[in-house]
């Protein structure tokens, strides 16, 4: 592995100062499950690695039914699914954090890292987009909030500017009659990179039969995780039915721009977008309180 300077930052300000000074030559380390592998394989070259795990703010995980869920950038997956209140409120997010890597990886890997690594196949990002999550970013000139669907701009590249650091991810409070789900397809049953991932979130009216809001996001079918607003928009105002769900899936398929690689052909990926969108919507609807006849 290449030599680098390891800097354990203790404040956000310190981390920002180093990032501003070093630019591309510095990289933030939280769980390290992507970064260390990249450094070892020479896929990323840096001069400094800034460990943020000793910064209190980025280790905060808080849930308040009134204000929602706040996940510090250095909070590992296991803490999220290990909280009964969070697991009960956001099962669609739990779907994603509990299938990233394996148990050991989940002990280290963070949502912040998954987001900043900006892989097109990242498991947590479609789930976060579906849940209308946003990223809180801080730089030398203060804070700004970025919707997750705008955060990734290319494989391995994000909206973060020189000197900016991700502080936390925020998910809005749970509304009644709403539910989310994340599904991915891999050829085996664990420890693999998504061939396709689909995050879905829906809200129903008080009768539990009509869709009032819906969001669909796709993974591994475009250079970045892909929000498909038209797929969710088409559901609004409709009565829940298999046909309605199938239509949304068809719209999602049309938005996907998959490529062929070792994990699957474009054709198989496109097909799976349809299958998984349908399935994820059905799970989300069930979690939102829809009772099929």
């Amino acid at each position: 592995m290449q030599a680098f300077e390891y800097i354990p930052a203790t404040t956000v300000k310190e981390a920002i100062a180093i990032l501003a000074r070093e630019g591309e030559q510095a990289r933030v380390l939280s769980g390290g499950t992507d970064l260390i592998v990249q450094l070892r394989e020479g896929r990323r070259k840096v001069r400094a690695v800034i460990d943020i795990k000793q910064i209190p703010e980025v280790n905060e995980l808080s849930y308040d039914p009134a204000t929602g869920l706040q996940i510090g950038a250095a909070v590992p997956c296991y803490r999220i699914y290990g909280s009964p209140a969070i697991a009960a409120a956001y099962p669609g997010l739990i779907d994603a954090v509990s299938l990233i890597g394996g148990v050991q990886i989940q002990g280290r890997a963070t949502l912040g890292g998954n987001l900043c690594n900006s892989s097109p196949a990242a498991d947590s990002i479609p789930a976060l987009i579906a849940h209308q999550a946003s990223a809180l970013v801080m730089g030398e000139n203060g804070e700004r909030r970025i919707p997750i669907e705008e955060f990734c701009i290319a494989p391995g590249r994000t909206q973060l500017q020189r000197g900016e650091i991700l502080l936390s991810i925020h998910i809005p409070p749970v509304s009644p009659y709403s539910g989310g789900a994340y599904l991915r397809f891999i050829p085996r049953n664990e420890m693999d990179i998504a061939v396709v991932g689909v995050g879905a979130w829906v809200a129903l009216d008080q009768s539990g039969t009509t869709i009032t809001a819906a969001r669909i996001a796709l993974g591994a079918v475009a250079p970045t995780p892909l929000y498909v607003p038209e797929s969710g928009a088409g559901l609004i105002g409709k009565l829940v039915s298999s046909e309605t769900v199938a239509e949304a899936a068809t719209i999602a398929q049309a938005a996907a721009r998959p490529i062929t690689d070792m994990r699957g052909s474009a054709q198989q990926r496109s097909h799976l977008v349809g299958v998984l969108t349908r399935r994820a919507l059905h799970i989300a609807l069930k979690r939102a309180g829809y009772k099929s006849a």
Binding site: F185, P187, N189, E190, D192, I193, Q268, L272, H282
Partner: protein, 737 residues
């Protein structure tokens, strides 16, 4: 009256804990990568990483000049720059033509991506790696032949000077009258099949430590499958007498056939010899994946004819194996596939043509099953299609045609006595008929899930075939005064993780009437034991038990005669086998066979094309289970490894370049991919050839998982799959047709 020196002691047949269990779980056991010696230097290999090229020049001056670098060795440093298990047809390191001390007709050309160019030895591994990157090699690229079909085209470039027309080897079997046979058939099944390459994926990548021992021998500690064969290959390449080379195996982290051929052995020995310093190497996973051979991809076209009542009348098979550029064990693997490709049946009229073809892919070689899984995938899928075409039960069809004692095989000779496949099939079917509670199908219920059951059976040789010299040595030493107080067993056999050394002690304890704690095993060292032959071909328990029983009995005789300590050496030689006649294939090819039958219950997600095995019943005639727990371990491990080959493991090569160089793209089964239930049915019909009735069994659980799964897919969907691996994409495409 003198007290009996032998007490009845029951160890064979009990699940004694493995003798290495504690040291392995505590981390005390040393694998080759754990070994350290004072003054140890570190080595890295420069691989060619191109599939076909002439080496014009190698300039290592910058690497040699780097501080901390001790030496850079190339093929020119090897007295005899060649290796190979059945034929010396591969260069140890590819050197520019006319540079080697002993020039070979095949040197000077890189023929696959994993060829070695140089070995860099330095004070640290890091320096060795940096120096490796300073070596300049000038290549002249040559056309790459990456498929068996391109290799046999009339205008194809000849890849290896020994193999005209890119044909490495061929076999031919003719029995009866094939035309008359098919003329008498009421039903003929005809299809084309393909099976893919497979990576061994053992936990421990290649590693080793070489040094000059106290007796002045070049000593290599490494993980392998046959210490004496490694010794011979090292001695050959270094131009040294065998007794100046010593090979020792510490703990071995899996082998499965993948350690039968040379990886780090010769280059490490060369470095320790030339530098007179201990030299260590550890390959990364990526180096391991391109650095050792794979299971042979095979293509087959098959016809099977039967009468309406199900009696088989004719079988015709053309088999083509992708050998890669060098022989390794290809000629033997192809021979096995040839003998097994019509399955364990009586077929009066047979025509088989098989060929091994040279390509620029990674060399193919030994892998659990040694050609039989590919052959039986063809044979058993043909049988299942025949049952479907006749509208008869697949098991009943088999019972009508199975080999039995006295039956004549495709090689026109009787099957060796102890042919118990009928019993194995019946026991498998009986076990499968007993319902077990498997977990419910997860996810949403509904029509997207379909379930099915499939059956297949097979046989495979135990021990070396076709007249290859076959023997196994053991030495037993008995110590004590009036009674035997303790014993020492010397045996070369390799414990690759299968539990062989525990089994050796159990057999010794039973024969000597001594508790196992009173017996010491000195194992896997060419300096202390005669040759055992390899840990392969399901042969080690079969062969070693004979040798240990023989040596133990001889030592007891000497003890009775008053010898103290009583020491006896014994070499077991089984009945001789014969090679196949080049025109007819007539032969007595194998000592004996192992028999297996498997039943698979699967569930398929029709929408994604993913299948999962819910229950797999494996009945295996093991003769006598020396250690039942270890036998079950072999069955479960073999089944899972076979499921990987069947459905997941897609060893991708494009134009001679390996695409799946990591475990992130080469997917082996994880714990969530194993069947929900594996029923191991241990059948114990004593083998008339076996000591204590013991049969070999280690490859049998691998043999027919794939055709059983294919039959289950057909049962569930009505679709036949002819190509492995059955990836979700491939299965979904088949379902859509």
């Amino acid at each position: 009256m003198t007290p009996p020196i032998i007490q009845a002691i029951m160890t064979v047949g009990t699940s004694l804990p493995r003798i290495d269990a504690l040291s392995k779980v505590t981390g005390e056991a040393h694998y080759p990568g754990d070994l350290v010696m004072p003054g140890m230097a570190h080595a890295k290999v420069l691989f060619a990483r191109r599939p076909h090229a002439r080496v014009i020049s190698i300039d290592a001056s910058a690497a040699r000049a780097m501080p901390g670098v001790l030496a850079v060795f190339t093929g020119a440093d090897l007295p005899v720059n060649e290796y190979g298990l059945v034929l010396f047809d591969a260069p140890v390191m590819v050197a520019p033509a006319a540079s080697a001390a002993t020039e070979t007709s095949f040197d000077g050309v890189v023929r696959h991506e994993g060829e070695k160019i140089a070995l860099i030895v330095a004070e640290t591994e890091k320096i060795a790696a940096r120096a490796r990157d300073l070596i300049t090699v000038i290549y002249e690229d040559m056309p790459v032949i990456a498929s068996i079909h391109d290799a046999v085209k009339p205008d194809a470039m000849q890849i290896h000077p020994h193999y005209a027309g890119n044909l490495m080897h061929e076999y031919r079997i003719r029995r009866g009258d094939i035309d008359a046979g098919f003329a008498g058939a009421d039903v003929i099944i005809e299809d084309t099949y393909f099976t893919g390459a497979q990576e061994h994926a053992y936990l421990q990548p290649e590693a080793g430590l070489a040094y000059v021992d106290e007796a002045g021998r070049i000593t290599v500690q490494v993980a392998g499958q046959w210490v004496h064969e490694d010794q011979e290959q090292i001695a050959h390449a270094l131009g040294l007498p065998k007794d100046q080379v010593r090979v020792i195996y510490p703990s071995i982290g899996g082998a499965f056939g993948g350690r039968e051929d040379m990886s780090v052995q010769i280059v490490l020995a060369l470095a320790a010899w030339k530098l007179n310093r201990p030299v260590k190497i550890i390959w990364t996973r990526e180096e391991s994946i391109i650095g050792h051979h794979k299971r042979h991809p095979m293509w087959a076209h098959a016809r099977l004819g039967a009468r309406r009542d199900g009696t088989l009348v004719a079988a015709e098979v053309t088999l083509i194996a992708d050998a890669g550029p060098y022989a390794y064990t290809t000629t033997k693997v192809l021979g096995n596939a040839t003998v097994m490709c019509v399955g364990p049946y009586v077929v009066p009229n047979v025509a088989i043509n098989s060929r091994a073809v040279v390509t620029n892919n990674i060399p193919s070689g030994a892998f659990r099953g040694f050609g039989a899984p590919q052959a039986l995938f063809v044979a058993e899928t043909q049988m299942n299609k025949l049952a479907a075409a006749l509208g008869v039960d697949a098991v009943a069809l088999r019972l009508k045609n199975l080999l039995r004692d006295g039956s004549i095989t495709v090689n026109n000779t009787p099957i060796p006595p102890g042919c118990t496949i009928t019993d194995v099939v019946q026991k498998c079917v009986a076990a499968a008929a007993v319902a077990v509670s498997a977990p419910a199908i997860s996810g949403q219920a509904g029509s997207r899930f379909v379930t099915g059951r499939g059956f297949a059976c097979g046989h495979k040789n135990i021990g070396f075939s076709f007249g290859a010299p076959e023997n196994c040595a053991a030495t037993v030493e008995l110590h004590g005064k009036t009674t035997v107080e303790r014993a020492v067993v010397y045996h070369a056999g390799a414990d690759c993780g299968q539990g062989a050394h525990t089994v050796f002690l159990q057999v010794a304890a039973e024969t000597l009437g001594l508790p196992i704690e009173k017996i010491t095993l000195v194992a896997s060292d060419t300096a202390t034991s005669g040759s055992s032959g390899s840990a392969s071909a399901s042969r080690l328990t079969f062969m070693a038990s004979h040798s240990i029983v023989g040596a133990a009995r001889a030592a007891l005789d000497k003890w009775r005669e008053g010898e103290r300590p009583a020491v006896a050496h014994f070499v077991y030689r089984p009945r001789a086998t014969t090679p196949m006649d080049p025109i007819t294939g007539e032969a007595d090819p194998n000592i004996t066979y192992g028999y297996v039958a498997q039943s698979a219950d699967i569930v398929i997600d029709r929408e994604t094309g993913q299948f999962h095995v819910r229950r797999l019943v494996c009945a295996d005639d093991v003769g006598r289970a020396v250690n039942p727990q270890q036998v079950v371990g072999q069955i479960e491990g073999g089944v899972v490894q076979a499921l990987g080959w069947t459905g997941l493991e897609n060893f991708a090569q494009r134009n001679g370049k390996v695409l799946s160089q990591h475990f992130s793209t080469y997917l082996i089964p994880s714990v969530f991919d194993v069947p929900d239930v594996v029923d191991s049915v241990l059948v114990e019909n004593p083998d008339p050839h076996g000591a204590m009735g013991i049969r070999g069994m280690a490859e049998m659980p691998f043999l027919v998982v794939a055709p059983a799964v294919v039959a289950a897919i057909h049962d569930a969907t009505g679709v036949w799959i002819n190509e492995l691996p059955i990836t979700p994409e491939r299965l979904r495409a088949a379902l859509q047709k």
